[in-house]
């Protein structure tokens, strides 16, 4: 499960995979909507790991 927490690092630090203008969403170039999309995705991943963390 903890491996899930590596995904935001890969998704956001590997720039060649999102440094584009198109496609656009609601007028936002891809560079911007892609990074904003990682915010809820990261929360979700953290929540998934949290659920499995023994407390």
């Amino acid at each position: 499960m903890w491996v899930l927490l590596l995904l935001p690092f890969i998704g956001l630090l590997w720039l060649p995979c999102y440094n584009f203008l198109t496609p656009t969403l609601f007028g936002f170039p891809f560079f911007y909507c892609y990074q904003l999309a990682w915010v809820p995705i990261t929360s979700l991943l953290l929540w998934l790991v949290y659920r499995r963390t023994p407390r």
Partner: protein, 489 residues
């Protein structure tokens, strides 16, 4: 900028400011402690903040007023490159989720208040403790000064000149922090964050509507960058990708090494509170991403400013009625109070625990600690105020850049001990020294830029200096420690 006083804005601003002042003093009675004459109470709010209070406090403390001014300013000036704050404030949360609950447990079990307490407890080394404490205080000072810059920008935009309003606002802040400790910024953070959410959500809905939608906003910015040329644009130039990623990673690693963010962590009620906050705090990152876009909206609105830090106030003055502008400026100014208070408390805790108690008065009582910390919090704030009034703002900005690099060098000492018993204090101290010295040298010789270009096989790679220094720091620590370990066998 406007030269006449904006009365409706000023009146709304003063009313909101008065409200938080009352709250700041009232905070001493909030969740009434048995005594405030204890550093756990004054400096950590009694270690009892639950999920919501921690969310507001850390959110108000980490996403500072200076951020609201500086991020759009950088985005306005250079475009996509300024957005590194977004990946930075996303990847910081997996780091918080993994590291901070462990650190909180160590701090709670032993009654530690500061990072240097944790390090001393782990390695029993006074020199290493002092190194961590000094780094924390020195890295925090310019950060407090920059909060004042955020406040100054909006006060001037309302047509007030001279230093008096800033001095008055800071005096009030200093007094209620003295009286109420961490409870004051925790309570004010509710108002600050509510105001900021209202302002930003209104701005990012209304401004693009006036300017023809987000498509038009991005188009206007793209046209402006095409005319400007150089390393600007709506996407990164190939040479900017590595600096962007390394700045994001380095900043994320450094973010929760600062005394003010750690104070927020140590003040929470449980390790679980921190985990829940790592899940919930990214909500502020969405807000930050939208705030950053204000830099592009300025192009669509045809704003031209002499200094890019004026871009947010100028945009609000151009688009909104005066009363709402006052509301927005109050949000920014109050947004400066919360981090400035927590930063001064964090620095005061370090001085008290890791200098006063360690060297001046080892038998100091908890009540005596609280007394010393209160006075130090005043001294720290006056220092930051004098800095901003008498020295060029650029010094504070340059020192803040160096501060990020310095605080990052405390990571091995603070964090490695949570996972392994292998490291010894001398190795970590030497690594720290090499990281701080080498990193500062690269920054100074490179013209105070955050990135340094290293040549590998004829190709140049530009990397955030803080990360290079951290790599050197860790390598030195490992090599020296291996040498010692071999000798003692």
């Amino acid at each position: 900028m406007s030269s006449t006083v904006q009365w409706p804005a000023l009146i709304v601003f003063i009313l909101l400011f008065a409200l938080v002042t009352v709250m700041g003093f009232y905070a001493a009675r909030w969740h009434r402690p048995t005594t405030t004459a204890h550093l756990d109470e004054w400096g950590l709010g009694g270690r009892g903040f639950g999920t919501w209070i921690t969310w507001f406090l850390v959110g108000g403390d980490f996403y500072t007023a200076y951020t609201i001014i500086a991020v759009p300013a950088l985005v306005y000036a250079v475009g996509a490159y300024g957005f590194f704050a977004l990946p930075y404030t996303i990847i910081v949360y997996p780091i918080v989720f993994v590291l901070m609950p462990r650190l909180w447990i160590v701090a709670r079990d032993h009654g530690y208040v500061t990072a240097a307490d944790v390090v001393h407890g782990r390695y029993q080394s006074r020199p290493l403790e002092l190194a961590i404490a000094i780094t924390g205080v020195v890295a925090t000072m310019p950060y407090i000064a920059l909060q004042l810059v955020g406040m100054q920008v909006v006060i001037q935009a309302m047509g007030l000149h001279g230093e008096t309003p800033l001095v008055l606002a800071f005096l009030v802040l200093a007094l209620y922090t003295y009286a109420s400790g961490l409870r004051a910024p925790a309570l004010i953070a509710f108002v600050k964050d509510a105001l900021i959410y209202v302002v930003v959500l209104t701005a990012v809905a209304i401004i693009p509507m006036r300017l023809g939608g987000y498509g038009a906003v991005f188009h206007a910015a793209g046209v402006a960058f095409a005319a400007k040329g150089g390393a600007t644009g709506l996407t990164l130039k190939p040479a900017q990708m590595l600096p962007y990623a390394s700045l994001a990673l380095g900043s994320a690693l450094a973010a929760f090494m600062y005394p003010h963010t750690l104070t927020g962590i140590f003040a929470s009620k449980s390790a679980d509170t921190i985990r829940k906050n790592a899940i919930l705090l990214p909500a502020y990152t969405i807000l930050l991403g939208l705030i950053a876009l204000l830099g592009y909206m300025a192009y669509a609105a045809g704003i031209h400013v002499a200094s890019s830090t004026q871009v947010v106030p100028a945009l609000f003055l151009a688009i909104f009625p005066s009363w709402f502008t006052g509301f927005a400026f109050a949000a920014i100014a109050i947004g400066a109070l919360v981090p400035a208070a927590v930063m001064s408390i964090g620095a005061a805790n370090l001085f008290t625990r890791n200098f006063w108690k360690a060297y001046v008065n080892p038998t100091v009582t908890p009540a005596g600690e609280a007394k010393v910390a209160k006075i130090v919090s005043l001294v720290v704030k006056v220092g930051a105020l004098l800095f901003i009034i008498f020295l060029p703002t650029q010094y504070a900005i340059d020192l803040q850049l160096l501060g990020g690099l310095w605080i990052l060098q405390t990571l091995p000492s603070l964090v490695f001990g949570l996972f392994t018993n292998w490291f010894r204090a001398p190795a970590l101290l030497l690594g720290w020294l090499v990281g701080i010295g080498g990193g500062s040298w690269l920054v100074f010789t490179g013209g105070l830029k955050p990135v340094h270009t290293i040549m590998i096989g004829g190709a140049g790679y530009s990397v955030y200096i803080g990360l290079l220094a951290l790599a050197a720091n860790i390598i030195v620590a490992v090599v020296v420690n291996a040498f010692f370990a071999k000798k003692s066998n």
